[in-house]
Each structure stands twice: as C-alpha cells, then as structure tokens.
C-alpha cells in the first residue's frame, strides 16, 4: 500500500510538532515502523535507503541526541590545520525533508525487545523492527583515571569528532616548541584502523611547520601498525624524519592526568600533550538492547540482514558489528544498505539477496594534500556465512596529491549520499 501525499505531509508535520516533548507518532497506513537509533554514517544511511527502497511505505523514525552530524573522516585534518571543524558539521534537515524521515532529538535510556519499545528521556516509541547504529563506546576498565569528563578534557580521545577534536588541536597549538606529543593506540579492533596513524601524520604535518623541534611518541598496543603499515612507515621516514618515535606492543596500564604521564608494562612516558584513544566496544544502545554478545564488546549479526544473532527484529549496523571487516564510514554505509534492503524485502514479502557484495574505500592523509587508499570488494561466503575480501583489493603504491583529491571527492559524495 503506497503512502499518499497527504499522509506524507501529515508525517512531516507530525515529526516537527512531536519532536519533543510528546512522542506518540500515530501508526499510519504503512508496512510497518522501523526505529533507527543513531544518525551517524550507518544510521542515517539505513534511514534514507529504507525510505527510498520502500518508496515511502515504511515509516522510519531516527533517534539521535546530537543536533549536527559531524564527520570523523577528514577530522584528523583539523589537527593538521587544513580543515576547520565547521567544514565537517552538517544539519540533518535535508535528509529529513527529502525522504520524509521522522526525527527525534533525544537519548535512548532503555530498550525492551519483548514489547518492542524504545524508551528515551522524554517518551517512548514502539517498533516493528529496530536498527541499532550506536557507533562505539569507550572502555575505561583498565584506565579508570580517564573516566571523568574533566580527565577527558585534560587528556582528550578525539575519537568522536567535534569538541574533542578542537580541544586536541588547541592543546597542540599551545604546546611548547620543543614539546612532546604522546598518542596511545588501543588494541584492534577499534573504529577506523588507519585513523591513529593518519593522526600521527597530521600532527607531524602541523609540528613540522610550526614547532619543528617537537617530538611525537606513539605507544601502540598492537604488535605493529594495523593498517597501511608500509605506506605509513615510508611516509613518516620521507616526510617527517626523526620526528616520530613509534613503539609497538605498548599497552597503557596507568594514566596520571595531572602530569600527563603514562605507564606501559615497560616504561613511563611524560607528555606535554597526551591523546589516549581508549579501547572500544559497541555503543550504549546496543548494550541496552542486549545484543552485545561477542566478548562483551561487539554484536554478532547475520550478514544477509544484519539482524542480531541473539535478539529477533533488532538489527545492528556500523562500527558496533562484530566482523573481520574494517570499522570505516564506507563500510558502515555498505552494511546499512544491505540491512535496509533486507528489511524492505521482508516487509514486502520479497526474497532477500542471498549473496551480498559491497565495496569499501578508505583514504588516509599523510600531509594536507597527499593521501593513500585501502580498498576492497567484499563478497558473502555462503559456507562461512561471513563477508570475505575479494581478490584484487589492496593499498596504494604510494601517497599522492591525486589521491588527496579523490579523498575529497569521496567525502563530498558520501556526505551527499548520507545527508541529502
């Protein structure tokens, strides 16, 4: 049953009127309601494609606490000085109005999978299917001193773009000319595998121009650089010789906030500016939904539908998914579309795609202009029931300005796809 224009307008008006504080969207003549928790790359994409591919017959409500979308991709360039954070911030208006998506700016407080209800600080919503796209949550069990807000202002993670990114940038600008920037990289898996190394490159780019006597110490919990290793190693040697001291197998065991001093199993390192990227797990809404069933960190899903293996009618997309797949923005959108397509098929009584195929392209900048890629096509392996990288994928031969341009085109197009 197609939704007519009058209903559509009623929806849009309803969404505006009811955005807060009342949350009781009338059930309309649709094939069902999908509630999407999270308006990041994964959640926003799922919402848009559900509306597009169902031709408006599925009611979609997104719950997102933040006013703006802020892109993590390209946010390391803010540290390098070639981007301003405002260039990475977007309103959700076009996404909402173009596709008739209902939007609730609120925080999820509880999820009841029995009654299919999501509770928020100012109301509740029922769903036929739920998509949880919560991104990541930080784990402070091993680093309890970093738990508080004040501690995270002194020692930023800057692993969710926004005020944290600006905070780290300001600290770098205020650092003494011969200061030491220390970055801690958590054990994989974490959001954006090459991200820490791109960050090191961007900080080096900034320091080389403004504080060439400064040093970078990278304490990596992993045995080696986890993504684009050869490319980063060569770029650091060529572009920033003598500046970056990379130390593998260096997990933090303690952080002293006041003195910005960290301890690993082997040594004590004092920083002038300290950036600790904490270990990560599926975001809080996934924990509330009871779908975090792998190592108490990640969500196991069926890769044909992204439905949870432990909770019916709850789908998980993006960084929270347990998979041998990079936790990238492009990956999040690819997963979100497979999930949206499967839900549309299910609600239409159509067969789903038994063999999904999708692409992932991820660029990292080593200067303000030069970037390099890692790119793969992933295909569903019916025997293993997982997505497997196809032949032919890999990384750039070398960073280049041409790929720096491509990375900008990537950003412009993915923002257009996700946000309009």
């Amino acid at each position: 049953m197609a939704i007519d224009r009058r209903d559509f307008l009623k929806f849009s008006a309803g969404a505006t009127l009811l955005a807060h504080p009342v949350l009781s969207f009338a059930k309309a003549r649709t094939r069902g309601r999908v509630v999407v928790i999270g308006g990041g790359y994964a959640g926003a994409t799922a919402a848009k494609y559900l509306r597009m591919w169902s031709e408006g017959t599925i009611e979609v409500v997104v719950i997102e606490p933040n006013q703006h979308f802020i892109s993590c991709p390209l946010s390391n360039l803010v540290l390098g000085g070639s981007k301003h954070i405002g260039e990475l911030m977007f309103a959700y208006d076009q996404l909402k109005s173009q596709h008739g998506i209902q939007w609730v700016r609120d925080e999820v407080t509880a999820i009841d999978s029995q009654t299919r209800t999501v509770k928020m600080t100012r109301g509740q919503l029922s769903y036929d299917r739920l998509i949880v796209a919560p991104g990541v949550d930080f784990i402070y069990d091993q680093l309890p001193t970093l738990q508080g807000i004040d501690a995270q202002i002194a020692v930023p993670h800057a692993w969710k773009a926004g005020p944290q990114t600006v905070n780290l940038q300001k600290q770098l600008m205020a650092m003494a000319d011969n200061g030491v920037f220390v970055i801690s990289v958590p054990k994989a898996p974490y959001r954006c595998p090459p991200g820490p190394y791109e960050r090191i490159s961007q900080v080096a780019f900034y320091l080389k121009q403004h504080k060439p006597k400064a040093k970078i110490i990278a304490l990596d919990a992993n045995p080696e650089i986890t993504s684009k290793k050869g490319l980063f190693t060569k770029a650091w040697a060529d572009l920033y010789p003598g500046m970056i001291d990379y130390r593998p197998n260096s997990s933090l065991v303690d952080v002293d906030i006041a003195t910005r001093t960290v301890k690993t199993e082997f040594e004590t390192v004092k920083a002038d500016v300290l950036n600790v990227i904490p270990p990560q797990r599926a975001g809080k809404p996934a924990q509330m939904a009871g779908v975090v069933n792998i190592d108490k960190r990640w969500c196991e899903v069926d890769f044909l539908t992204y439905e949870s293996k432990v909770a019916p009618n709850i789908h998980i997309v993006g960084d929270a998914v347990s998979a041998a797949l990079p936790k990238s923005a492009h990956m999040a959108t690819s997963q979100a579309r497979i999930c949206a397509s499967a839900i549309v098929c299910a609600m239409n009584g159509q067969p789903i795609d038994p063999s999904p195929v999708f692409a992932n392209t991820c660029y990292s900048y080593v200067t303000d202009k030069m970037a390099m890629h890692v790119a793969h096509v992933y295909r569903y392996d019916a025997a293993k029931r997982v997505m497997v990288a196809a032949e032919g994928g890999g990384v750039s031969d070398k960073p280049s300005e041409q790929e720096g341009d491509y990375a900008q085109y990537w950003a412009k197009n993915i923002w257009s796809d996700v946000l309009t």
Binding site: L304, T333, Y409
Partner: protein, 112 residues
C-alpha cells in the same frame, strides 16, 4: 530454530528455488550499485570530482570497468573494485546505472 530465523530462511529459499529472475537480480544489484555511492553519489549522481554514472552509456561503463579489471586502463583505485567484481556483475551494474535518471545531486552545506 527461532521463528525469526525461519522467516529469513523462507525468504532465502524463495530466492534459491525461483531461479534467478530479473527481480532477484535487481535486489542484488541495487545494494552493490549503492555501495558505489561513497565516491559516485546516490544512484550514480556524483556531486563532483568523480564521473557521473547515472545515465552512462552501458557499453562505455562495461568497457571501462573491464579495462580497469584487466589493467589495460591504469587507475589509482578503480582496479581494486573492478577486480573484485564478476563480468556478469559489471554487465548488471552497467545496465543499472544506464537506467538511472540524472538528477542534480545535492551537496550538503556545512554548518560553518
């Protein structure tokens, strides 16, 4: 087996028994084509920099992708994608993108 699994199994077996028809292919190709959007825009309507795939001549799309796939046409990144696809998928993508209307893709405006 839980009830929800059975529902999905039914949908999958529907696919398996009904030999690949146009509708099934369409479902497979729409998600594959959509994963090109990160660089080429929604339904191939690029906002700039990369080629617009919407409405692109089918033969041209296929020949270029096959050339990326064989290495005959040099590229920075496209050979990675072309090599991961089957010739049949390239044909289907060519057909899919040729059928997409060209629209003015919207570049979202940053807040500041």
């Amino acid at each position: 087996m839980q009830k929800h699994d059975m529902t999905w199994m039914l949908l999958i077996s529907l696919m398996a028994f009904g030999s690949a028809n146009a509708e099934d292919d369409a479902i497979h190709i729409r998600t594959l084509a959509a994963s090109c959007a990160a660089c080429h825009g929604t339904n191939g309507n690029s906002v700039g920099g990369t080629p617009v795939l919407a409405g692109l001549d089918q033969g041209h799309f296929t020949s270029q992708m096959l050339a990326f796939r064989s290495g005959e046409r040099a590229s920075t990144v496209m050979h990675r994608h072309a090599k991961g696809l089957t010739p049949a998928e390239i044909e289907q993508l060519a057909h899919y993108f040729a059928a997409q209307p060209r629209t003015a893709a919207i570049t979202p405006t940053p807040v500041e």
